[in-house]
Amino acid sequence: MSERTIDTDRWKGDLLLLAKIVAATYVGFASLGLVTGVPINEVAGFLVTVTFFAASFALVTLALNLHWGYTGLFNIGVAGFMAIGVYTMAVLTASPDASPAGLGLPIPVGVVAGVLVAALVGAVIALPALRVRSDYFAIITLGFSEIVRLSITSGTLREIEVGDRVYGTGGGSGIGYTPVDSVIPWLFDRPGIGLLGDLLYGIGGLVGITTSIINRLLYALVIIAFVVAVYALLQRLAYSPFGRVLKAIREDEVAARSLGKNTKYAKIKVFALGCGLMGLAGILWMGSRSLVTPESFMPVVTFYIFVALIVGGSGSNTGSIVGGFVFAAFLWEGPRFLRTIARANLDTRSPPTIYDAALELAAFDVMPLVGYFIGSLDEFRWILIGVALVLLMVYRPEGLLGDRKEIAAATDLSQRQGGESDE
C-alpha cells in the first residue's frame, strides 16, 4: 500500500517547525545577551529557565487544549487540578519527621498518585458539573479551584494530628518535601551515569557554566520528555474517531448525540484525562521546588495557560506547545532578560513613582524613566500580555497555528482506494 502514513508526515513537519521557532528564539536571545555583555553563565541560566518554563507551560497547555481546544469544555479551574497533583505528591513523599509530616513514600509513587488523584477528582467533578450548561460549568470549575486553594490554606486542614505526628497541608506556609528535580543528582549518583555527569559538569566548567545550571537543564529535558510522550498520546487521540467525537461535542453536542455518540461518557473520560495531565504538569513544574504553598495556584495561573493556548492556536496540539514556548520565552521570561541586559549596561536607578520619572524626563534625562519601567517590570508584564493578546486578536485571532486544518481521522481522508485521487 503506497498510502503515506499521515501520522509520521505531519509529526516530522511539526517537529521541524517547532525546532525552527525554538532555535531562532535561543540564537536571538543568546546573541543579544552576549553582544550586550551579559556573562555566559547568566545567558545559559536564562535559556535554561526559558526551557524549563516552556516545557512546563507546554504540558499544561496540552492538557487544557484537550479540554477547551478539542472538546470545548471551558475549564477555568486548571490551577486547582495542578494543586491537587502537587499536594498529593507532597503529602505522600514528605518525610514523616518533617512538619507537617508526610508518609515518606518514594517520589515515583508520589508522582503517579498525584496524577491519578487529580484525574479521579476530575472525574468526580465532571459527573455533576457536565450536566449543566457550559457557562455554568466554567463557573463550577473556577469555584472548585478556589475551594481547593482555600481549603489548603484553611486552618482546618493545616494541621491534622494522627497519633504522635502532625500531618496536614501546612496552611499558608506549605509543605516541604524532596523536589522531583532531585532525580538528576540522584541519577548522577548511580555508578555508570555518574561518569556522564562528571563529563557534562567538566564541559560546563570549561565554558563557564555552573553545575546547578547543568542540573536545571537536564531536569528541563526530563520535562520535555514528558511533553513528547503526552504530545504523542494526544496526537493519537486527536487523529482518531474518538478525537472526532470530541470535536463534535465542541461544535454541537445535540447533533453528536443525535448521531448516536455517547457524549456524556466521552466528556467524563476526557475531563478526567486532562485533569490528570494537569496534575502531572503541576508536579513537574511546581513540584520541582522543595516547598509547595497555596499561592502557586492562584486563578491567574489558569489565565496564563489560556493565554498560551490562545497564542498557540486552540485546537492544535502542536500549537499548544508553540504557545507554551512563546508565552514562556517572550511574555514570561523575556522581559526579565531585558532587565538583566539593561542592568548590565545602563545606570538604571528606579525613581519611586512614574511622576518622578516624568519630572526628570522634563530635564531631558530619559534614564530614570527607563529605570522606572525596568524596576516595575513585573507589573508591566501584564500590560505586555494584554498588548500581545490584542495584537493577536486583531491580526491572527485563530492563534499562531490555529488556522491549520487538522482533520480528526486516523487516516488521510482525502485519499481514496478506488477513487480518482493519486495512488
Partner: protein, 268 residues
Amino acid sequence: MSEQRTRPTTNVDDPILRAENLRKRFGGIVAVDGASFEVERGSITGLIGPNGAGKSTTFNLITGVYRPDGGSVVFDGGDVTGHSPERIANQGLVRTFQIARELPEMTVLENMMLGPQNQLGESIWRSVTPVVRNEVIQEEKQLRERAWETLELFEIDHLAEEYASSLSGGQRKLLELARALLTDPDMLLLDEPMAGVNPSLEKKLLERIHDLQDEGYSFLLVEHDMDVIMNHCERVIVMHQGELLAEGLPAEIQGDEAVIEAYLGGDV
C-alpha cells in the same frame, strides 16, 4: 410529478414507530397535546401541518432531544420514551433537523465520518495503543470509502474538504441527510429535508429515498410541499395545534374538510 409509486394502505399493520398521547408544553404553550400515531414499517409517511403545529417538537420528543411531559414512544417493539438521543440513534432511529446542524468547524468529510456507529476508534485505548491502532486505521479507510460514495450520491463530493460552515443552506441539509444515512438507520425522521434544495436535486433525493425504502428503510417526513406529500407518501399524518387532526391516504387527506379548513386553506 409523473411517477406514482405509492402503495395504498389505509391501516397500519406492522408499525415500526408508535407515538401514544405525546404531550409537551413550553411554559404557557402546549406544543404537542396528546398526539398519537403509527408509522408503517417500510413506508414513507408524511407529517404535515401548519407552522407551529408541533411537528418538529414531536420529532424532538420521539428522538429524545426533549423529554415528553406525557405519553410514550415505541420503536421497533421497544419502549424508548425518555431515552437519550444517542441511545435512540443507536437503536436505528435517526433524525435530521429542520435547521441543519452541521458541525461548522469540521470538514464535510469529518462530518460524514461521524455517522457510522460503534467505530473501533471511539475507544481511547484502541486509538492510542500502537499495534491495536492499525485496526482503527483499517476501519477508517473503509468508512472513508463509504463517506466518499455517499457524498457523490448527494453531489457534494466537490466540497468534501471544505469546512461545513462554508456550505450553503441547501448543501448543509444535504450533508445532514448524507451523514444520517451513514449511521445505518432502520428509520429516518426527516424534518423538511428538501427545504432549500434545488428542484433537480430534490427529484434525485426523492428517488434516493424510494431506493432506500426498497431496501427496507422507513421514513417519517415533515414537508410543506404538497406535491411531494401527495406523490411520494403512502400515508399522511396531519397535526394542528399540537393535536392529531387526521391521518390516512394522501387522497383521503386531500379531501378531508378539517384538514382543508386548518391547513390547505382553500387552494385545493
